[in-house]
Amino acid sequence: MESARAHLDVQHTEGVIVVSFLDRKILDELNITRIEEDLFTLVEKETSVRLVLDFANVEHLSSRALGTLISLMKRVNMKKGRLALSNIAARIFDVFRITRLDRSFDIYTTREEAIAAVTA
């Protein structure tokens, strides 16, 4: 049974919420459901959220996780917020490219670039 440990590191910096995934593999249904709940709660709390998701630790990603990112993007857009992704390893970026989601998300090489983009 999966414990209720944290899957996300959340930092607030200069009006931007920077979320880092603590899991190397974002695959598991239960983990993703918890990540989804936490991310959606973060967005709901803010009026026009500026959110950066940092993938530095992530080595595996499932299509279910992609679905969560799409749902999150829609919620951010509905609240007229900004969302950027950063530090996506080449193999994980391929998953975005194959599914053509690299065109839907704003993706930056570094966390700093992503923060700058959502605050611009």
Partner: protein, 133 residues
């Protein structure tokens, strides 16, 4: 070909027990890191499809994984007890009308990362083939 088999209930955590066995076989036969990544991803998607769509999360139904890995290629079959489906009936997730839908990308990823992906006639068993290139 001689296959190893694992049969579990429709539970992703239980079904995922096959993954380290498959990964260990791939590494033993010298498959590249890229190939191991690809097989892990495709197997994960196949298991999720079998449990969530095939067996509709019915815990009384089983998922069966048969795998054969040799130095030349890996063959993995994931079967469920559902009614099956037709590959042609699954919409293209990259079509403009579907790109913002949160589901429907698992098959696409399997097909992108494997050399061959095919279903049995009933559509409730998928065969994944990855060559050791």
């Amino acid at each position: 070909m001689k296959f190893s088999t694992l049969v579990t209930k429709s539970d992703l955590a239980a079904a995922r027990k096959v993954e380290p066995l498959v990964m260990a076989e791939l590494e033993r036969h010298g498959y590249s890191e890229e190939a191991v990544f690809a097989v892990r991803l495709a197997l994960e998607e196949a298991l999720a499809n079998a449990i969530n769509h095939g067996n509709a999360r019915d815990a009384s139904k089983a998922v069966r994984v048969d795998y054969h890995i040799d130095p030349r290629r890996a063959v993995i079959r994931v079967s469920d007890e559902g009614p099956g489906f037709s590959r042609g009936s699954v919409p293209d997730p990259t079509a403009p009308e579907n790109i913002e839908k949160p589901c429907g990308r698992g098959i696409m990823l399997m097909e992108a990362y494997m050399n061959e992906v095919r279903w049995n006639r009933d559509g409730n068993c998928v065969e994944l083939i990855k060559k050791n290139e």
